[in-house]
């Protein structure tokens, strides 16, 4: 059995936060500098009462348009912002989408590496004969975790969702994978409170970091320098490993899409690994870092604009929160 990506659609919430708005809110923050350094001009943010599941639903409806939804026999939802601790949001989504009830569905809790892991799971389910048509959704709303006065994280992250249909195919269009995990970095991108380890604390104290950003332990915390160091260590290695496992060299790759974490950081990685500029996607201008959604958004953008053509070999690499990372090569 082999698998291929059949279709991708994305959905971004309507509400936007621009750099100009952040500049007016944070005194020493420059809209121009944010754009130059991060590559972000605006980001979409969920409104009150809007959740990752809502975004997942919208992106799924788009991808299921003109598609026989009764043929979907497995649903995988990747989110770190589920509607409830239980039940799985994927169960709720199955019902909302009117999919068959004799199908499988589960959530996976991953961030920036989520799409790579999701592709591997979808391919695996198809390979063992359990599924023929997998609906894989990435949906994220980090904005819900970020403190209103955390200028650093409010600048970087955006919300969004992307739904991908992966089908059984004659030809293997999703090739070999490489994965990595290092839990030593668990606390470098974390929402400390609200889970089983530390309860939500209504009296949590606000703390200010060296950049002047405020947050409590109920909010998202990211150690930017450590994340950058982690990517410098891990990403070149996973690129080499993916190429090796697929018996390829960088010159055999037509295009490269990394998780769109930060334009500056990704440009540094590009140069370090030796990827040609014209073969490298680096664009988060209108979305910010949408975590697990960045890769499918980028892939769709490239396919729609014919930046990637049929039969192109595309290297995909996701890396971040966990620490978790992974890579693969797909034939478009």
């Amino acid at each position: 059995m082999s698998a291929k990506i059949k279709k991708i659609e994305s959905y971004l919430p309507e509400k936007m936060v621009t750099n100009k708005q952040l500049e007016s809110y944070f005194q020493d923050w420059s809209a121009k500098k944010i754009e130059v350094k991060t590559g972000i001009r605006e980001r979409h943010i969920v409104s009150e009462g809007e959740t990752a599941l809502d975004l997942a639903y919208q992106s799924s409806e788009k991808v299921l348009d003109a598609y026989n939804r009764d043929s979907i026999d497995f649903l995988i939802l990747c989110t770190q912002s589920p509607d409830y601790y239980l039940p799985s949001s994927s169960c709720i989504l199955q019902d909302k989408l009117g999919l068959r009830t004799n199908i499988g569905a589960f959530d996976i809790n991953l961030g920036c590496s989520g799409f790579i892991y999701g592709l591997a799971l979808a391919k695996g389910l198809i390979n063992i004969g359990v599924a023929n048509n997998v609906l894989l959704i990435m949906a994220e709303t980090y904005s819900r975790y970020i403190h209103p006065k955390d200028k650093a994280n409010r600048t970087i992250f955006g919300d969004g969702a992307a739904a991908t249909i992966i089908e059984k195919s004659e030809i293997d269009d999703i090739l070999e994978f490489s994965f990595g995990t290092d839990g030593k970095g668990y606390d470098k991108l974390i929402v400390p409170n609200g889970g089983a380890r530390n309860k939500y604390d209504p009296d949590a104290k606000e703390k200010q970091d060296t950049s002047g950003s405020l947050r409590t332990d109920n909010n998202l915390y990211m150690d930017g320098p450590e994340i950058f160091n982690f990517t410098i260590r891990a990403v070149p290695k996973v690129v080499n490993d993916v190429l090796k496992k697929n018996n390829m060299h960088l010159k055999d790759i037509d295009y490269v899409i990394f998780h769109q974490a930060n334009k500056f950081m990704n440009e540094h990685l590009r140069k370090k690994i030796g990827i040609a500029e014209e073969k490298f996607y680096n664009n988060m201008l209108h979305t910010g870092n949408t975590v697990s959604v960045t890769i499918p958004i980028a892939l769709k953008h490239c396919i729609d604009r014919k930046i990637i053509e049929p039969n192109d070999k595309v290297l995909l690499v996701g890396f971040g929160v966990g620490y978790s990372w992974g890579g693969t090569i797909i034939n478009v």
């Binding site: 500098k33 350094k37 950049s211 320098p225 450590e226 160091n229 500056f264 950081m265 140069k271």
Partner: protein
């Protein structure tokens, strides 16, 4: 690398218009914010292949302290 070259390249990397000296305290420059720190990490990795951890960054004050961290043996 010559220290004079390093001082110039470091200023360029951090987009600091002033001339840097070994005694310059990086924390006094508004350019050395969270985005500036990213630039420093990238520059040190590119030129010296060295990772600057958060812990080590917290101890960087003057350019001299940065040179000491990188190691005098890396400079002419």
């Amino acid at each position: 690398m010559k220290k004079t070259t390093f001082l110039k390249e470091l200023a360029d990397a951090l987009e600091i218009d002033d001339d840097l000296a070994e005694e310059s305290d990086l924390r006094n420059f508004p350019e050395y914010d969270s985005l500036g720190v990213m630039c420093l990490i990238a520059y040190i990795d590119e030129k010296f292949g060295i990772n600057l951890s958060s812990h080590e960054l917290a101890r960087i004050t003057t350019v001299k302290s940065l040179i000491k961290f990188i190691g005098d043996e890396n400079f002419d």
